[in-house]
């Protein structure tokens, strides 16, 4: 391929339009990381900040991040959800210092000098504004309105809450592709369903966030890294499934257990893979895999929605979770899991969801391996910033597929990434 030098980080990329290779420096250079914060996380993107169910009541709040900028998500007493940068307009202190809580008063008071803001981020009070006993105080022209917190635009889409720094963004539904696969699958899980958060989990992974982005968009690895997927057929490349791409870089990956085509399964067996031990590997207590069948009538048993840049929504058997991806520098990211069920769950189903977390989470018999794969990539690319990866499974183009033997979804990601970054 031809190649063209790009300024940031001095990286050399394949020619325009070729997304089947990426220079490893994209995972290591500080300049690239900083530019991502500006062009992606604060650029024309909608970033997941939480579930509406995390702040059910007026006064509820939650602290989180957009990229690596600390933000707070609040619900005011009218029920509206707001988000603002968690930095006081006075001299820069964090205004909100807990993970989550309820703020009955409805005002957020900075501890440093007690400037107070309402749920929307507007400045509502300033101590000693007119001085004390006629001395000191703020200038006569001091205007509260001019000193609010930096606000983000917020949209609550079927209970999934997004925020953006970009005033000119279209709505969330347009962003993820109205009526497209992502929209349909998101609605399949959330639309008109009352959800209940059942817990959280956090992993701090010493790897660039984009290695994990590749991982969650990668149907190729799922059979080959995860023995539990392959051996127990929770996911197999030989199953009926596929990938769908919407608005450039959002991707949906889905499959149906027990639908392996004879031919594909035969090919799989031939490959003699470490991860395929269907005949020999068994569980002492199979209750782990005995989920509830047909919770959805489409028999889809696995869906991974990668909604760039910061959200993964999953249904794997009966486990439901959102995963928030928080970059923590060029070589680390945090993965925040929020598990949920439906208010309508019976006790047995709720227990099934809790049990299946043994498969999918920081200690998940499947998903732990995605953390590890991200780490070993970061460790291996310390030098050779201009060596390229090879992303050619399933061809070199970008298009939906009705099978799982492809990396087209990863190519889609890099394609769009380059456009946003100007590479």
């Amino acid at each position: 391929m031809d190649a063209r030098v790009k300024r940031t980080g001095g990286l050399i990329w394949p020619e325009e339009g070729v997304s089947s290779a990426v220079p490893y420096g994209v995972f290591t250079e500080q300049a690239v990381y900083d530019e991502e914060q500006a062009r992606i996380y604060r650029g024309p993107t909608w970033n997941f900040i939480g579930l509406a169910a995390e702040v059910p009541n007026p006064g509820d709040f939650k602290t989180t991040y957009v990229g690596d900028t600390p933000v707070v998500m609040t619900r005011d007493d009218t029920g509206a959800i707001h988000a603002w940068v968690n930095r006081c307009a006075h001299r820069g202190a964090l205004v909100c210092r807990e993970l989550r809580g309820n703020n009955a008063a409805g005002t957020y008071t900075c501890v440093y000098h007690q400037w107070s803001f309402d749920a929307a981020g507007d400045l509502v009070g300033v101590p000693f504004r007119r001085g004390l006993g006629g001395k000191g105080g703020y200038p006569a022209d001091f205007d509260l309105k001019a000193h609010g917190l930096r606000k983000l635009r917020v949209e609550d889409y079927h209970g999934v809450v997004f925020a953006t720094f970009d005033a000119n963004m279209p709505g969330v539904q347009d962003y993820l592709g109205a009526g497209g696969a992502m929209d349909a699958h998101l609605q399949r899980i959330f639309k008109d369903r009352e959800i209940e958060v059942i817990g959280h989990a956090r992993q701090y992974i010493p790897s660039n966030w984009k290695f994990y982005a590749e991982n969650t968009k990668d149907p190729y690895h799922a059979s080959l890294l995860h023995l539990f997927h392959m051996t127990f057929g929770l996911y197999r490349s030989s199953q009926v499934g596929g990938v769908k791409i919407t608005n450039g870089w959002h991707t949906v990956l889905f499959s149906r257990s027990g639908t392996d085509s004879e031919a594909a399964l035969a090919d799989t067996k031939q490959s003699q893979l470490r991860t395929y031990q269907a005949d020999t590997y068994t569980l002492d207590d199979p209750s782990l895999l005995r989920g509830r069948q047909g919770e959805w009538d489409d028999d889809v048993t696995l869906v991974i929605m990668s909604l760039m840049p910061s959200l993964v929504i999953q249904q794997i058997q009966n486990t439901l979770a959102v995963r928030q991806i928080l970059p923590k520098g060029r070589d680390a990211f945090e993965l925040v899991w929020t598990y949920f069920g439906y208010k309508t769950d019976d006790e047995e189903l709720r227990n099934i969801r809790l049990k299946q977390i043994n498969l999918i989470g920081p200690a998940g018999l499947i998903s732990m391996e995605d953390g590890e794969s991200s780490v070993i990539c970061q460790q291996a690319v310390v030098r050779d910033q201009n060596d390229w990866s090879c992303i050619e499974m399933g061809g070199r183009d970008v298009q939906d597929a009705d099978h799982l033997v492809t990396e087209t979804t990863i190519r889609a990601f890099w394609d769009h990434y380059r456009a946003l970054m100007g590479y």
């Binding site: 059942i198 569980l283 977390i357 043994n358 920081p362 953390g371 590890e372």
Partner: protein, 164 residues
């Protein structure tokens, strides 16, 4: 034992519970994981719970096994199935306290710290927390009927595969 028991029941019991926990911990640190399930009863419950959830009254645990079979499956997976960085643990446990005994079930609580060493040879604070245990006697041996590990370190470094 009668004399000892008569003279200092609590002391003796703390001793015994400590002996159980020390054996449990050594088993993990010495990488004799195949023996690990035998510290539990058949109908045991084993949960590893982030303090974030415990404090909020949320049920999610990162590991949740409700049978000895599931414990065995964890170990088989760790040995044969899972991909993770080779490592070893060093447990330090302290202030075991027997909180009470009822209907043959002893409730005890113990602080622990797990220090993890990866192949680079560096040792890091991996996980601290407390064991909240329910212990019973099975043919004279103490066994965990329920073991809940509530861990402070709810930002898990990379992943968790080896039991706590």
């Amino acid at each position: 034992m009668s004399t000892a028991v008569a003279t200092a029941p609590v002391t003796t019991t703390r001793q015994e519970v400590e002996d159980l926990i020390h054996a449990y911990v050594q088993c993990i640190d010495d990488d004799r994981l195949e023996e690990w399930p035998d510290f539990f009863t058949d109908d045991c419950v084993y949960r590893v719970v982030p303090r974030e959830n415990a404090d909020a009254g949320l049920p999610v645990a990162v590991m949740y096994c409700d049978s000895k079979g599931m414990l065995r499956d964890r170990i088989v997976a760790l040995r044969k199935a899972n991909i993770y960085a080779p490592h070893f643990y060093r447990h330090l446990v302290s202030n075991t306290r027997v909180l009470g005994e009822q209907g043959g079930v002893i409730r005890a609580q113990t602080n622990y710290g797990v220090f993890q060493t990866l192949l680079d040879g560096e040792t890091r604070v991996y996980n601290t927390g407390k064991y909240v245990d329910q212990i019973v006697r099975v043919n004279g041996q103490l066994r965990f009927k329920e073991k809940v590990c509530v861990f402070d370190t709810y930002r898990i470094q990379t992943l968790m595969v080896t039991p706590i």
